[in-house]
Structures are given as C-alpha cells and as structure tokens.
Subunit: 146 residues, 2 copies
Amino acid sequence: MYTIGEVSEMFNLSIPTLRFYDKEGLLLDLERDNSGIRKFNDKTIEALRVIECLKKSGMQIKEIKEFMHWCSLGDITIEKRKEMFLNQKKSIEREIKELEKALHMINFKCWYYDEAIKDSTEKRVKNITPNQMPHEIKTYYDEAHK
Amino acid sequence: MYTIGEVSEMFNLSIPTLRFYDKEGLLLDLERDNSGIRKFNDKTIEALRVIECLKKSGMQIKEIKEFMHWCSLGDITIEKRKEMFLNQKKSIEREIKELEKALHMINFKCWYYDEAIKDSTEKRVKNITPNQMPHEIKTYYDEAHK
DNA sequence: TTAATACCTAAACATAACTTTAGGTCAATA
DNA sequence: TATTGACCTAAAGTTATGTTTAGGTATTAA
C-alpha cells in the first residue's frame, strides 16, 4: 500500500495530477482509508503503468477511462480491449514512422548547418543541388521533400 | 505563388490554422498582394515544411517562431540554428525510444488478450509468471516492468 | 447587376490536461 | 497544547493550439 505522495515520486506525476486521474475515473481500484485518504495498492500501481503507456502512445484521458471501465466489466469485454490495444499498436507504429521522417529532415538540416558553419555563411550550401549532396544526405533530403 | 486555399490543401492544414501561424510570426516571408491577400511563395512553402517537421518533433509554436526569427537575422545565427536542430534530433530520438517502450507494453497486452480470448476469460493468463511466458513476450513484459 | 466564391480581420469560444487556491481534517511531534 | 506535515475537496485559473463567428472586400460568372 502506498500513499499518494509515494506514488507521485514513483511515477514522477504531481499529486494533483494523481487526484485528477482519480477524479476522471482512471483509477477505479483505488481504495481509501477511514478518513478518506487514498491507498494505492498493486492493482492501482499496475493501472498507472498502463495509463503511462497509453498516454505516451497518444491516447486521451476519456478513452483511457473507457478502457478502465471495460476492465471493470470483466471477461465480456476482453475482445474490445484486445482490439483497442491493436489499434494503439498501429497508432504507435504510425507515430514512430512520422518521427523517423522528421528525423530525416533534421539530419539534413544538421548537415546543412555544418556546411554553413564551415563557410561562416549559408551562401554556398544554400545552392547545392540534391545531386551534389553526399549520398546519405541526399537520401534525407529526398525523404523530407517527397 | 499559391493562395491560402491551395496551401491549405497541400499541407492538410486548415485555412484558419495557416492564418494563425502567420499571426504567430511563423511565416516571416509571407507576401501580400495589393488588396492584402496572402501569397505563398517557394520560401514560405519550405518554411511550412520545416514547421511541419518541428511540430511533429514536439516543438512549440513560440520556439519555432524564435527559430524563424533567427533565420531572418542571417548568417550570424547559423550556430544557434545548428544547435537547435541538434537538440531537436536528440529530443526525437528520446521520443522514439519512449514509443518503443510503450510498444513493448502494448505487445505484451496483445499477447495477454490473445491468450484470454482463447480461454474466453482472463483467469488463466492473469496468473502466468514471467518465466512461463513465451520468450519474446517475457522480453516485452520485463521491458515494461523494469 | 446580382450572386457566388475566395479571401480578409478581430475577437470570442473551445478543449485537453493540468495547476493553483482557499479552506479543512488528522496524526505525530516539540 | 500548539504546530507541523501530509493528506483532503471544490472550484477557479492556466496554457497551448487551434476554431468559430460576425462582419467586410474583391473578382468573376450568369
């Protein structure tokens, strides 16, 4: 059993944020003691791990809430939950691809500014055509401009 | 030269969003015709490509604005700009790693629900210990719970 | 000439996800 | 006994990133 302060440290989430998640219905298994103080057990901790993951993958709080609700309904929602994770998987994979595309542009820009720094000016590098670029830089450029 | 409507289609950004970017100082090279209508030239288009990339990589509008301002100051800001792209590169790489971590949890959950679906209940799979999991699933599990 | 279309502005509104504030409880310590 | 520290609530405030609204201009098509 953990207090809200301990959990706050464990997950690097502020205390108000944890209360907010509770209020929003993300922590369905959260217990309270006699005087109303939150007691986080292993189930809630595991829920927070899942929440962390779903948030990172771009899911909104109300969707996570819906998922938590499904969990509370038991075995009849197994297929729904599986489908949700499958969608989330696709969504993360798309996101990673997008980030890799952005990385290509960034790599191109890093090369570009390295060249500019050599000359102390953008003048020369600004006019380089794709065919004059080093091969792997051209690849970045083409990817970013396709 | 493109109109705002054309650019909106090209980048899949709404017309109000483009006007908003302009107002926020992201489109410094944007020209206007006599009657005040925006004319997007190749330089603005390229700026939008960079904006798209920086946004995808998690940068905020006011930081992008600052970068655009640096660009307008010319060669004296080359090093600053290089540094910014280098930081952004690190930031994207961190982000990709985070997403891959989330993907591990998701892959574990997909396996978990596949097993549960086979049984029509979570009862059995819920109690499987890491050592009883298929090897690659255990890897996901360990990664997600480390 | 009138009507449609594509543009313009300023300002208000919307939304998600928190954070801050103001006021209160409760148990342990000086 | 008084104070400190960790918790509680409800409600208001904040921030980023747009979107919507209301009212106006300019060009073209019927």
